[in-house]
Amino acid sequence: MEFQIIWFILWGLLWAVYFALDGFDFGAGILYPFIAKDEMDKKAVIHAIGPVWNGNEVWLITAGGATFAAFPTTYAYMFSYLYTPLLIILFALILRGVAVEFRPKAVTDTQKKLWDIGIFLGSLIPSLLFGVAFGNIFMGLKFDDSGYYGTLFSLLNPYGLLVGLLFLFTFIVHGGLWISLKVQDTLAEKAMARAKKFWYLQAICAVLFLILTAVFTNLYDNFLKLPFWFAVPALAVTCLLVTGFYIMKNKRGRAFISSALFIISLVFSGVIGLYPNLIPSSIDSKYSLTLFNSSSSPYTLKIMTIVIIIFVPIVLFYQAWTYKTFMYKITEKELKEEGY
């Protein structure tokens, strides 16, 4: 029993860390064509995410793998019900990865332009669709014993799209702040200016999200039952305000950290609201996939808990070391010596 709850928390944690890390890669990729005008600027933005994006993406692979190992029934139905949107996310992620790696090798203007579009779309589409997917999960998917009744277009409902936009603007702010930390001068100023603009849009979406979640979902039920848990969404709101405050004060590092904390507390607000569901059924809660009816056996969960407890701290340690190693301002020196 207790292992199922541990894994439910880990499930949320893996998604939260994934969005807090790859989120800024996405944001940087979305801002990239708008703020980087010449070749040097473009190289700088790509270099800003170059050493870390791939390691960040592994959190997604791990979130997927952990869902498979700990909640196989959820994994099976989540992925097959959301076939088309996941396929689009997958293609976009492939495009993003290849574009980031191969853009520096482009020679002709056409090649460069195509990879630029690849970086932009490959970052924009997952940002929006991950939000749409989670928005729909918050609402519940239309499924019962005999199958799923939704389509790609039924997922693109107002609430789903709102959460999509919340994710999108959040990642743009997050990415803008990251770029402003990593590059110099005008480019950093430009990134900061965008982060500021998009923070307002992010804040509007967050307010709408707080209100409309009460209308479209049952997420508030858990909080009303145990008001103590309101601390988590309250933390999210605080982090969002603090992010805005530091953006206005031009304290970039602090703004970035609070933006990351906002993402983590936002994901956990959703996860607490979902409990004990992983995928609620909007037809009847008796069909919902919960951490109790969709989990692996206690034996498997125990094995996986041991693995995670040993290896995730090791991963966090060396990833933190990597961030420290690459925590420098990118100058012309770095951009010139880059042979790859």
Partner: protein, 434 residues
């Protein structure tokens, strides 16, 4: 076409495409790590140029290996939901462990390696590519433990209408999975050895940096020779394990229809599955099949109902070609070492080496055809049929659309990748500093 067939085609296409990039990664990471270590130890700048030259090709290849790997993880749930639900309690764990233990290490330290040339000490830099090499080979271990379980399920009980793990250690030490791991990883090292041989041969043909590329050629040849011999040796053990655990696959590999004691091996054989016999059987080596399989009596395909037999011709031909190629690799690499001293003058042989680059790739693909087609009609041998494993919520039209999407998208990416590999392979290493 139905969802099952389309999903199988899609899985085959995306897995085969993914496996174009994986084997080179497995072997080339080790070679680059060796070259850089040589540089750190001796200070010989040629080894630094070597690590950078082969490392650049490694990175181009790695990019596609990683992104096409995500597809594999998504597809189990997307197209094979019933499979995932039924075996996730066991199959999910090695996948999650692969990500946690291997993927993080590999992706993080490749980033460090690419961007860290002037940021960390040379020793630490060399260590980071060793960690990449360790991690890629470790990821192969976990995914092949998972695949080994599909071939020969162990350590489980059927409970709650699904397979549940009762013995993790049995799953991890499943001989089938470990043999498959050794066989697959070594075959990847052969791919990398021949990749280095072929590109070095190209530059020797063009009289470009002869001394430099002769060094590369030697490294590639020794690595490929040792790996080719080992892959054949492990293959022999692996075949015995197949004979022991998957009688239908073994019978299909050898196109054996009737149960035979002291079964001979026919060097020339043409299967005729429609009439459940072979139309040609010639040049038999007495008892050879029984010896190789490590069993006196070999069960023939007729022991099993036609619905439980894999496609015979495809399995048989793939197996024969793979084995033939395996022996060719040993021969070719031996010749490189024998002719090494004046090899830059043997134009024809160098051309042969250049044109041999695709052969180990083909052998690897054939090996996977034997493994996966030979397992049919089972997705988990003896436990779950492929037809029962497919997603119920997915329409054939969805799979058809995604299959077309994958074909077009992957096709374009494949062309771009080969173009870039060829471009940077031709370009050669950075010129020597004067």
């Amino acid at each position: 076409m139905d969802t099952v067939l389309l999903s199988r085609l899609q899985f085959a296409a995306t897995a085969a495409f993914h496996f174009i990039f994986v084997p080179l990664t497995l072997g080339l990471s080790i070679l680059v790590a060796y070259m850089e270590t040589k540089y750190v130890r001796t200070g010989d700048k040629d080894y630094l140029r070597m690590a950078k030259f082969w490392g650049r090709l490694f990175v181009i290849n790695f990019a596609l290996g990683v992104v096409t790997g995500i597809t594999m993880e998504f597809q189990f749930g997307m197209n094979w939901a019933e499979y995932s639900r039924y075996v996730g309690d066991i199959f999910g764990s090695p996948l999650a462990i692969e990500a946690t233990v291997a993927f993080f290490l590999e992706s993080t330290f490749l980033g460090v390696w690419i961007f860290g040339w002037n940021k960390i000490s040379p020793k630490l830099h060399a260590l980071s590519i060793w960690l990449v090499a360790l991690a890629t080979n470790l990821s192969a271990l976990w995914i092949l433990i998972a695949n080994g379980w599909m071939q020969h399920p162990v350590g489980y009980v059927i409970n709650n209408n699904r397979a549940e793990m009762v013995d993790f250690w049995a799953v991890v030490t499943n001989a089938y999975g470990l043999l498959k791991f050794a066989h697959t990883v070594l075959s990847g090292w052969v791919v990398a050895g021949f990749f280095v041989l072929g590109i070095s041969a190209y530059h020797l043909l063009n009289k470009n940096e002869t001394e430099f590329f002769k060094k590369c050629l030697k490294i590639g040849a020794i690595f490929a020779l040792v790996s080719s011999i080992l892959v054949a040796a492990v293959g022999d053990f692996h075949a015995k394990e197949v004979a022991h655990t998957q009688p239908t696959k073994l019978a299909a590999m050898e196109s054996l229809w009737n149960t035979t004691t002291d079964a001979p091996m026919y060097l020339l054989l043409i299967p005729d599955p429609e009439n459940e016999k072979n139309s040609v059987e010639a040049i038999g080596i007495p008892s050879m099949l029984s010896i190789l399989a490590g069993k006196k009596e070999i069960k023939g395909l007729k022991e099993f109902s036609p619905s439980e037999r894999p496609p015979v011709t495809l399995t048989f031909v793939s197996f024969r070609l793979m084995v033939g190629l395996g022996f060719l690799f040993i021969l070719l690499t031996l010749l490189v070492l024998i002719k090494f001293r004046y090899i830059e003058n043997s134009t024809i042989f160098l051309k042969l080496l250049l044109w041999s680059i695709p052969l180990p790739y083909i052998a690897g693909q054939l090996g996977w055809i034997v493994a996966e087609v030979g397992r049919q009609p089972w997705i988990v041998y003896g436990l779950l049929k492929t037809t029962d494993a497919v997603s119920k919520a997915v329409e054939p039209s969805q799979v058809l659309a995604s299959l077309i999407g994958f074909t077009v998208f992957y096709g374009a990416l494949g062309i771009i990748d080969i173009y870039l590999l060829a471009k940077y392979a031709r370009k050669g290493p950075e010129p020597k500093e004067v």
